[in-house]
């Protein structure tokens, strides 16, 4: 027997759509402003964090130019300090930097003499393609394992969840090297130097996708098994629907919400994992630029990359919110 408590809100009369329109506009504005705040905060944290790194930036630049690792006389350092404005007080440097941000000027790379936008622009696309494709591949892998193994008898289910736990514990680097050796060197299906060709991107994508698929799978599986016990699944079965149709049409949509949230969070981790995949497969990407920039104390480039990654993260989260509302319209009301 069921309980009868306070039922849902009585059938509300239709609210005037004007008020709802204004409310969503305000919501979007708040989201945009907070997104900008997040970006500026991330860039500022990076700017100041880099000043903590020991050693003088001008020394690092000269050493980078000449490939040496020594101190330089003040006379040799002076032109560099002037050129990049290191001689100005810190706050002025920071305000110039943030001021530039708002005009889309991310400053000039110390080591490549080019605007940071150019430095990042050249290598951003391959990284985005890699992380985007990795996320999609992770989803496909995770859902395939779920649909094949969830609640299909004790052994098969155990097999599926062990696979997920296993893949979630794989170090990205190790996966990369093993895939390279097995599928590019030994069985030569894929090219060793992937570059940015479609066929060459398969292995790097798998390197990032397999561990992430483990995570997505675990989260979705718990929800999927709970949903399969829900009454509306029994209703669907009483309509004569087959097991697979019930899983695809009904159970899946209900169980993907936690994985969608995880995807928003995973974008940040993917970018970090990307540098490993890019290095193992010789792919261009901002991960490698980031590592070199930090090592050469190239502050504008590092801050620029953080800005881009933060931007990707913010956009990813907007997409997550949209996906959320699409999958579960009940959330759109609140």
């Amino acid at each position: 027997m069921s309980t009868v408590g306070e039922a849902a809100v009585p059938a509300a009369s239709r609210r005037p759509s004007a008020r709802r329109g204004a409310r969503t506009a305000r919501q979007i504005l708040v989201k945009v402003v907070s997104a900008v705040l997040v970006l500026v905060a991330a860039a500022s944290v990076t700017f100041f964090a880099q000043l903590l790194v020991p050693g003088n930036r001008a020394t690092a630049i000269l050493n980078e130019q000449t490939g040496r690792a020594q101190l330089w006389t003040p006379a040799q350092l002076a032109p560099v300090n002037r050129e990049f404005g290191f001689d100005k007080p810190l706050i002025v440097q920071y305000l110039n930097y943030v001021g530039g941000l708002f005009h889309g000027n991310l400053g000039t790379s110390y080591t490549q003499y080019r605007p940071v936008t150019q430095v990042i622009g050249a290598e951003l696309m391959p990284s985005l393609e890699l992380t985007g494709a990795a996320l999609v591949a992770a989803w496909v892998l995770a859902l395939a394992v779920i649909l094949l193994t969830a609640k299909r008898g004790r052994f098969v289910t155990a097999l599926g969840s062990t696979w997920e736990a296993l893949t979630a514990s794989l170090p990205t680097y190790w996966v990369g090297v093993v895939l390279l050796v097995v599928f590019a060197v030994e069985i030569r299906i894929f090219p060793v130097i992937g570059g940015t060709s479609a066929w060459g991107t398969v292995l790097p994508v798998l390197t990032l996708a397999i561990p992430l698929a483990g995570f997505l799978g675990q989260v979705t599986r718990d929800e999927f098994e709970k949903v399969l016990d829900q009454p509306f699944i029994t209703t669907a079965r009483t309509r004569g629907m087959g097991d697979t149709a019930v899983r695809l049409k009904h159970a899946l949509r209900h169980s993907v919400l936690p994985a969608i949230t995880l995807s928003g969070w995973a974008m940040g981790a993917l970018i970090s994992g990307a540098v490993i995949a890019e290095n193992v497969y010789g792919r261009p990407g901002i991960g490698q630029v980031l590592v070199n920039a930090v090592n050469t104390r190239d502050v504008p480039t590092v801050s620029g990359i953080v800005l881009v990654v933060a931007g990707v993260y913010v956009i990813a989260n907007l997409l997550v919110d949209i996906a959320y509302a699409l999958v579960d319209p009940r959330l759109r009301a609140s």
Partner: protein, 575 residues
């Protein structure tokens, strides 16, 4: 095997030809335990067979077996399960799919959980059509709208595009029924189709099923509520612990039951007749089985009716007073909704005031305001004449021990990590005479358990391991611990089986007689309210539409809404 009071099969259906569905010696077991121990029944076109029983009687699993969905690691055996010539015992999964939806329609209990909330109502209704390859997309959509209007849903085109949670309870249930009858199946199996609904809507849905029966569909109705069954069933089967204890025409089973258990079920139903008496009489030998001993009491036969020996109500000591309390909620869309509108009442020492109303009437919000768990937008609540709702949290803390609460779902009101003992000792420590030592606390806790009909060995068990009735008894014990003068009961028994409900209501009335504690009793069940209350408030959309002495409100209802509620109340007399 108990003696089954079954009138001969042939006599019943002499007039109307061969049966649509025949079930002979059906046995169902899960692993080693057998839940259905050889039952037989049959239905025919245009007639309704009701299967009645309490939790664990096996009625639901029988229903599911009729559509081949008994459940994982189950074992089904039967001499015969025949649906119009088709042998349902030897169906493959593929052939079952052809039967489900087309030959047999299935209706579950609560449309909020039984319909997919993420899909449009129209798509849900059209799904059986699509599965069985009926028509095209466009024709299926049109058919869904037709089905919605045929089950009495207003503006079917608009509702078809909405999602189930956007509809009211009644409309949702109608949509669920529309989905079941989409392919006009010859047999409909309905498992508790109206339990989740309010009384007035319950009546409309039962009428809808009656229309379907009139059009020649055969209906199997599964329910725990005898009065609901009385309205629709032609034939009734009463089940207990997997066995059929009574089987016969509806009128005969509901008025002159041959089996003691059926009679006990009938008598355990609280109503205006049972007011002032105990629902469960001291019993003679119960006919075996695990349920506690009981003795059915006939409403009008006086010889074993046990009158309550009550203390007189002290009219001039108002224990709890509410003055013009109003509560306005600002929804997410910034629209204000008045949930409680100028409600006032008094509760005197030793008295029970009942608040009845359908879902959304504001009765629970009123209760929470009375408990000062919610600050009213306006108006005031007095406890023993002293200000109560206007106090600050710290000022109110010492007074808390004077007012207790019993929740509808006791399990969620206990900290999952605490065994019963600790729940009670914790409650005792908040009373006016907190126990001075652990030993004293334990002793008083055990006395509380005995007071509510439990025993010392329950001290160490986790609430999760107890039955529904036992948990509610622990909840009552906890409410009594600080020795409050007032206890607010928010739907305390609606989650319990009829026989357990009877025992808990008797416990509450015994405690009132013994301790003189006053109850503010909230329920949607008119029968329970009538049985328990001295005075009654009827609430509708936040306002008190009628108030007065219990018998007065029930015999001479002044407000049209109360009248409509009382007429909609399914009664045994209607069978």
């Amino acid at each position: 095997m108990t003696e089954v009071a079954v009138t001969e099969q042939t006599a019943v259906d002499a007039a109307t030809g061969t049966p649509l569905l025949t079930v002979e010696n059906l046995r169902i077991s899960f692993g080693k335990t057998e839940v259905v121990k050889g039952i037989s029944f049959s239905t025919r076109l245009g007639r309704c067979l009701a299967i009645v029983g309490e939790s664990g009687s096996g009625k639901s699993v029988t229903a599911r077996t009729l559509v081949g969905l008994t459940g994982p690691d189950s074992h089904v055996q039967a001499d015969q399960i025949d649906l119009a010539g088709v042998d349902l015992t030897r169906q493959s999964e593929r052939s079952w799919r052809a039967i489900r939806g087309r030959q047999i329609g299935f209706i579950l209990q609560d449309a909020l959980a039984s319909l997919d909330q993420l899909r449009r109502v129209g798509d849900e209704i059209a799904e059986p059509l699509k599965v069985h390859g009926w028509g095209t997309r466009a024709s299926r959509r049109r058919k869904a709208v037709e089905l919605l209007s045929s089950v009495g849903v207003p503006e079917p085109e608009v509702k078809a595009r909405q999602r189930p949670y956007e509809l009211s309870g009644g409309l949702r249930q109608r949509a669920l029924i529309a989905s079941a009858i989409a392919l006009d199946p010859k047999l409909i199996v309905a498992d508790e189709p109206t339990t989740a609904l309010d009384v007035t809507i319950q009546a409309q849905v039962l009428d809808l099923l009656a229309d379907s029966k009139a059009r020649g569909t055969s209906i199997i109705l599964i329910s725990h509520d005898l009065s609901v069954v009385a309205r629709l069933a032609d034939e009734v089967v009463v089940m207990r612990e997997g066995e059929v204890v009574e089987h016969g025409p509806a009128h005969q089973v509901l008025h002159e039951p041959r089996h003691e258990y059926t009679q006990a079920l009938l008598d355990a139903i609280p109503s205006e007749h049972t007011r002032g008496t105990r629902l469960v009489r001291p019993a003679g030998a119960a006919p075996g089985g695990t349920t506690p001993p009981y003795r059915p009491a006939k409403p009008d036969v006086g010889e074993n009716v046990v009158r309550r020996s009550r203390k007189p109500i002290d009219r001039d000591r108002a224990v709890l007073q509410a003055r013009h309390i109003t509560q306005v909620f600002r929804g997410p869309d910034k629209v204000d909704r008045t949930v409680v509108d100028d409600v006032s009442f008094e509760l005197f020492a030793g008295e029970t005031v009942g608040i009845v109303g359908e879902s959304g009437s504001g009765k629970t919000t009123t209760a929470r305001i009375a408990l000062s768990l919610l600050h009213p937008t306006s108006g005031e609540v007095l406890l023993h004449g002293q200000p109560w709702s206007t106090l600050s949290t710290s000022q109110r803390k010492p007074l808390r021990k004077r007012i207790g609460v019993i929740y509808q779902d006791p399990l969620s009101s206990f900290d999952p990590r605490w065994p019963v003992g600790r729940i009670l000792t914790d409650a005792l420590s908040t009373g006016s005479r907190p126990p001075s030592s652990r030993a004293e606390a334990r002793a008083r806790a055990i006395r509380l358990l005995e007071q509510v009909g439990l025993a010392e060995h329950h001290m160490a068990s986790a609430p999760l391991r107890l039955s529904g009735g036992q948990r509610q008894r622990v909840s009552i014990a906890r409410a009594l611990a600080p020795e409050p003068e007032v206890i607010v009961c928010d739907e305390p028994v609606s989650a319990l089986d009829v026989s357990i409900q009877a025992q808990v209501l008797d416990l509450l009335t015994d405690l009132q007689d013994e301790l003189g504690v006053s109850y503010l009793f909230i329920s949607h069940d008119l029968g329970v309210i009538h049985h328990m209350s001295d005075r009654i408030l009827v609430m509708k959309e936040g306002r008190v539409v009628e108030a007065g002495h219990a018998d007065e409100v029930f015999e001479r209802p002044r407000d049209p809404y109360t009248r409509r509620l009382l007429t909609a109340l399914p009664r045994l007399a209607q069978a």
